[in-house]
């Protein structure tokens, strides 16, 4: 419009959505700390080749089970020490961040895509299809999730990829339920009817009109699933069903070094600590996200 410039000064406007989101997210101090830890973790994962002093798989036969530098016998050559075959622990942990992040992203993407798709379909489908989908999800949910993942990996064969697929399948019923509930709540609103009166076809209404309005709880669930994915992959790795040695995956690293738990504490402690800190940070961040995005839980 050409005369837009000649309009009177716009009156004060309430803050934009993003600003409001940030201001309520910022109120939760834990969430902000979680966010920063998560960002640091991202940076480490992205720049692993630059940050890591050594290759994660290179073995220094002259330095087996060297302790961290502050302990007797430790040196600044290997800051966090080495493992049983002489690989630099710090480098392995840094590269491990890469794997964990990669696992998280793939698993969450897979689970979310599949889960949201099924959830939207269930929300709009005739009763029989809805029932079919939801009962299937109930069956998946009725197994302990790790056990089911384990069984699936056992069938598919142990590898990182199969572990990720198994975990995605185990996680996606949560997304289906969440999406379906949100869709059912949104579907009865007048703007959806208005879109139908305007001539919107079912697919457009499902994915263009309704779905964007259901995203808030899905984002929160995705963030929290990220930590579950990291944790479950580590657990599968620890059980020997996930990433295979010598992949520097944190869970696998834990499993490899189980026997040194008394003699060389650092080999076990640092991967465990990494898992703990990452999962905690993501959960804190997810909580903050929920508080900021979910108006029902928002403090007035």
């Amino acid at each position: 419009m050409t005369d837009a410039a000649s309009q009177p000064a716009r009156p004060a406007v309430p803050p934009s959505r993003l600003k409001e989101f940030w201001s309520s997210f910022r109120e939760n101090r834990g969430a902000v700390i979680g966010l920063f830890v998560f960002l640091a973790f991202l940076v480490v994962a992205a720049f692993a080749p630059i940050l890591a002093p050594y290759s994660p798989t290179e073995q220094y036969r002259d330095a087996l089970l060297v302790p961290p530098f502050w302990q007797d016998g430790g040196s600044t050559r290997f800051l966090l020490g080495t493992d049983a075959v002489g690989r630099d622990l710090l480098s392995r942990l840094i590269y491990g961040a890469r794997f964990s992040f990669f696992i998280g992203v793939i698993v969450v993407t897979l689970a979310t895509t599949l889960g949201v798709l099924l959830g939207v379909i269930a929300g709009f489908a005739p009763t029989w299809l809805d029932t079919l989908i939801m009962r299937l999800m109930d069956i998946v949910l009725s197994f302990p999730s790790l056990l089911l993942a384990l069984v699936m990996v056992a069938i598919l064969g142990p590898s990182l990829l199969n572990a990720m697929i198994a975990i995605s399948i185990v996680l996606q019923p949560h997304f289906v339920r969440l999406t379906r509930a949100a869709v059912l709540a949104e579907r009865s609103k007048d703007y959806v009817t208005a879109a139908r009166v305007a001539g919107g076809r079912p697919l457009r209404i499902m994915f263009r009109t309704v779905l964007p309005n259901c995203l808030a709880p899905i984002i929160v669930q995705a963030a929290l699933s990220f930590s579950t994915a990291v944790l479950d992959t580590a657990a599968l790795g620890f059980l020997g069903m996930g990433a295979q040695p010598p992949t520097p995956e944190w869970g696998t690293m834990l499993a490899e070094s189980r026997e040194f738990i008394l003699s060389a504490w650092w080999v076990v402690t640092f991967p465990g600590l990494c898992i703990l800190v990452t999962v905690l940070a993501i959960n804190l961040m997810g909580d903050g996200l929920r508080d900021a995005l979910d108006p029902k839980l928002k403090r007035s």
Partner: protein, 329 residues
């Protein structure tokens, strides 16, 4: 002596984007056995001021007042425990949505008797009798049977009657009805309003009716307090208010009623109620007022005298014409 006296009550909410003043220096006086209406649009602070009195606001709210006195008690000073003894016994409140104001997990009878149990030392059978009596008083047929009913088994009108029965359980001196009929159909609304006014007349209880419906006001109350954007803009007897409103907002509001319109196009009030981000500096109604001048925009008005309905205006209207402009000039 006034039963309830509130002077200069203000309520501020802390929000993400700063403080929001929902009630701004409101005075309310209610005499014993009186029927007062507080009228206003959404955002006028009519409900919030009463919730502040009841102490029912969330923690984000800051309540300040020069005087907050009920039946000789200073509500600003008393402890939470003493306040609870007054609230629910001497002051009761009913709300707009009867269905959601009743606890769906318990029967109507249990809820009425619970309120009796807390504030009286009646025996179990006395409580039962009193509950039946109350249900009969609010016109619920077959009260013994209805006491056993759960809220979802009652219609909207019946639920509102049950709410009123609960509110009356301890013979309150003051009943605050917050939009009691807005969610109900007209024929049911007529029944409930009649019930409320009859109760007020017969039991000597004071009734504060919060509403946005001018029709309800005209047909039921004696004194009307008009609120706008958290301020009291006018206080008058109902006949005077409808015949000769002194505040431009009241006048404009009455003119906007379709039934008072003389031609097809309705007179309107331009603009919207000021929100958190566009509160005017002077008179809050000045941006929408057809009589506003430079003084209205710059200066906050003070209430006029009793003859002019305490109108919060620099130039209160008499017969639709602003007065006092020549003195100011």
């Amino acid at each position: 002596m006034a039963l309830l006296e509130i002077r200069n009550l203000s309520v501020e909410f802390a929000t993400h984007s700063g403080k929001f003043r929902a009630v701004d220096g409101v005075d309310v006086t209610v005499d014993e056995g009186e029927l007062l209406a507080i009228v206003g649009e959404s955002g006028s602070g009519k409900s919030v001021s009463m919730l502040a009195l009841m102490g029912l606001l969330p923690w984000t709210a800051t309540v300040t007042a020069d005087k907050l006195e009920f039946d000789g008690h200073d509500l600003r000073k008393i402890s939470a425990r003493a306040r609870r003894r007054i609230i629910g016994k001497d002051i009761s409140m009913i709300f707009q949505e009867p269905i959601s104001s009743l606890n769906p997990a318990f029967t109507i009878g249990w809820q009425i008797k619970e309120s009796l149990r807390k504030h009286t030392n009646m025996s179990r059978s006395q409580r039962q009798d009193r509950a039946v009596e109350l249900m009969r008083q609010v016109g619920i047929p077959a009260p013994e049977k209805r006491l056993q009913a759960y809220p979802h088994q009652l219609s909207g009108g019946m639920s509102q009657r049950a709410m009123i029965a609960m509110a009356l359980a301890n013979k309150p001196k003051l009943l605050i009805a917050d939009e009691p009929t807005t969610a109900l159909d007209v024929t049911i609304q007529a029944q409930i309003l009649e019930l409320l006014t009859d109760l007020q007349k017969n039991s000597g209880m004071a009734l504060v009716l919060i509403t946005h419906d001018m029709g309800v006001v005209a047909e039921t109350v004696q004194r009307v307090q008009v609120q706008y954007a958290g301020q009291r803009v006018e206080l008058q007897e109902v006949d005077g208010l409808f015949e000769n409103p002194h505040h431009p907002y009241t006048a404009a509001l009455l003119a906007a009623l379709p039934e008072r319109a003389t031609e097809k196009r309705l007179p309107t009030i331009p603009g919207v109620v000021p929100g958190q981000f566009d509160r005017p500096q002077g008179c809050l109604f000045s941006p929408r007022c057809s009589f506003a001048d430079a003084r209205c925009i710059a200066e906050r008005p003070t209430p006029a005298g009793h003859d002019l309905g305490y109108a919060l205006c620099h130039y209160p209207l008499i017969d639709g014409q602003p007065t006092g402009k020549e003195n100011a000039a």
